[in-house]
Amino acid sequence: MGEIKVLTGNYAASEAAALCRPDLVAAYPITPQSSVAEKLAEFAATGRIDSNIVQVEGEHSAMSVVQGAAAAGGRVFTATAAQGLAFMYEPYFRMSTLRLPMVMAISTREMTSPETVWSGQQDAISVREAGWIQVYCDSNQEILDMVIQGYRIAEHPDVLIPVNVCYDGFYSSHLTEGVDVPTQKEIDEFLPAPSFDHAALDPKDPFSLDPMTPGPLLMKYRKDHLEAMTGAEDIIEEIDREFAEKFGRSYGGMIEEYRTEDADVVIITIAGMTGTGKDAVDIARNKGIRAGLIKLRFIRPFPAKKIRKALEGKKAFCVIDRSVSFGWSEGPNHTEVKAALGDATETYAHFSAIGGLGGADISLKDIHGTIERLEAVKDEPGEKEVMWYMEED
């Protein structure tokens, strides 16, 4: 059995990364992620982990150094946020398209401008088309568990796609709570040493990594990547079940459902707002509203089938986003859920809610208001106006 440690979200990510025995960690400080990198440097300094720590000069190099180490067959880790993620976009996209597995924590943060250092998911959401698997976590326990599961998913021979473990900056990264930290032995049993060698640079088996590739062949690589992404859904669920057997904790795989069974109205949440959302559901239930919650865990691959099934027979839903879609003028996950539902969308009363940008809170009152609005419109199918969690002027 493990040990209950009181950890911030960032330290939960560091603890998990340490347990996964990375060969190399390269990270660059950025608020609110910095303590992930600091803690791993401390672990290396005190000898708790035997990992190379590379003190790079920026996130572009952080991703590039881990890319080199992964291309030499190593297990690697890094963490970032916001501007750092934007800065590393070039090697970030390449990591997934070279099909090199790794885990990167993103302590999500709003993108500048206006100048801000606080929470928001615009950073990670904006790069969801870069070929990575993305999972969003609610509790610090989930952060720790998903970093560990992340390596199993990423390194699975039928996946070989890097994984982002995302969690809310400050609201999770700096939130302190008890976390059940497994023993090294348990983790070693669950997560064997990396054995991926589909692209390992080695003079003993020389090949060119990434020759110039013409369009028709490039498209074959893209198609393979997409198929692996789709196939990852089953593997994610499988690994969730295996993890539950060993550690007693299941998160439901692609999505988590809460009190949806007999629900009329459903809120769809992501990351740290989920816990608040569950409380709001309970309060609504006490008031006689048949409310339920779906937590988007993975958004790449997008759990379209699961969402369709979970919303079957419901009357109304709202997707709450901590980011925006410029151009659709709504929350990006609302757009994606509508795409998942296809023609069935119009049978629901539904709307997008946007809140929590730039560190703003998503309060119980905000979510409760959403549930009440859903209840009010549930018998009038069609899309309603976007709800912004803003105080009235």
Binding site: D23, L24, A26, N52, V54, Q55, V56, E57, G58, H60, S61, S64, V65, V66, Q67, G68, A69, A70, A71, A72, G73, G74, V76, E90, P91, R94, L201, D202, P203, P206, F207, S208, L209, D210, P211, M212, T213, P214, L217
Partner: protein
């Protein structure tokens, strides 16, 4: 062993047919560096003429006999940091980790990663083939383009006549990083070049070794294909490209007892065709100052 014996016995690691231009200085430098490094080598060649010439391969085909990767223009030194550290972890320090990059990937877009890797003294040999411009994309200016050069982005006009700034002197900047080894080489002095490549590889087992190679470019500079060695030799003799090295013992400059004038060097090179007298004076002053600076660092009296 003489440098000729070294070359005679050194296997070519690069595909024999690559689409570098006739008389390309970069191809000559690439082949020599990898011949000396040998089969137990991992090499990174970022976007640029050499990568464009096919040395990373096409489709499913390899461009070399050794593992080669085309990293980003911006990250070669960082990418190879990861490779190098993994090989050290595996206890395989015998594997050479080598970068062969142009001046764009070195002095401009790749400079931040290069500077950081040099400062961390990462174990690798980094060779820059400096042809003074982005030749692969059509001869645009770079920060190592010489004053007055005609390039696609510093064309000749009545208002602006070629590049208006001096080149950035990258090797000395690298030397100031206090990394393990820094040297300048020119293919016109092949014994010196081979010796420094050997020394750089040895130094790369202890830290960061940087070699800055003068890489004449017939296509971008507009001179006849057979003139490359002559052009490189004139650059050295004019003191625009002094040959020096810096190791743990300090700076050493290869003496140039009878220098030629910069005017003699630029004669016949198309990209310098419209140099003004003022430009020529400025280049001469630069050559004099550069040689004097390195001589002073090497503790050599003028």
């Amino acid at each position: 062993m003489s440098y000729l014996d070294v070359l005679k016995n050194a296997e070519d690691m690069v595909s024999p047919g690559i689409s570098a231009c006739q008389g390309c200085g970069g191809e000559l430098i690439l082949r020599r560096v990898l011949q000396i490094a040998g089969p137990n080598t991992i090499v990174g060649v970022p976007p640029g003429c050499m990568a464009g010439a096919g040395v990373v391969g096409w489709n499913y085909q390899n461009g070399m006999k050794i593992p080669v990767h085309i990293p980003l223009l911006t990250n070669i030194a960082s990418f190879l940091t990861g490779v190098s550290q993994m090989y050290e972890r595996k206890g395989r320090l015998d594997v050479n980790v080598v970068a062969v990059a142009g001046d764009g990937g070195t002095a401009d877009a790749g400079f931040q990663a290069l500077s950081a890797a040099a400062e961390r003294d990462e174990k690798m040999l980094y060779v820059c083939y400096d042809n003074e411009g982005y030749m692969n994309t059509g001869y645009q200016r770079s920060s190592t383009t010489s004053l007055g050069s005609r390039t696609s982005t510093t064309p000749i006009g009545d208002v602006i006549n070629g590049k208006r700034q001096h080149q950035k002197y990258v090797p000395l900047i690298l030397a100031m990083h206090e990394c393990s080894y820094v040297a300048t080489v020119s293919p016109s002095d092949m014994p010196d070049m081979i010796r420094k490549i050997e020394k750089g590889l040895e130094a790369s087992k202890k830290g960061f070794a940087y070699i800055h190679a003068f890489s004449p470019c017939p296509t971008g500079w507009s001179y006849k294909e057979d003139m490359g060695i002559e052009v490189a030799g004139q650059a050295v003799r004019s003191n625009l490209f002094p040959l020096w090295e810096r190791d743990e013992e300090g700076f050493r400059l290869k003496k140039n007892p009878s220098p030629i004038s910069v005017r003699e060097f630029v004669e016949g090179i198309g990209k310098f065709r419209t140099l003004t007298e003022k430009d020529k004076d400025a280049l001469q002053e630069l050559a004099d100052r550069r040689y004097a600076t390195v001589a002073a660092l090497a503790g050599m009296a003028e």
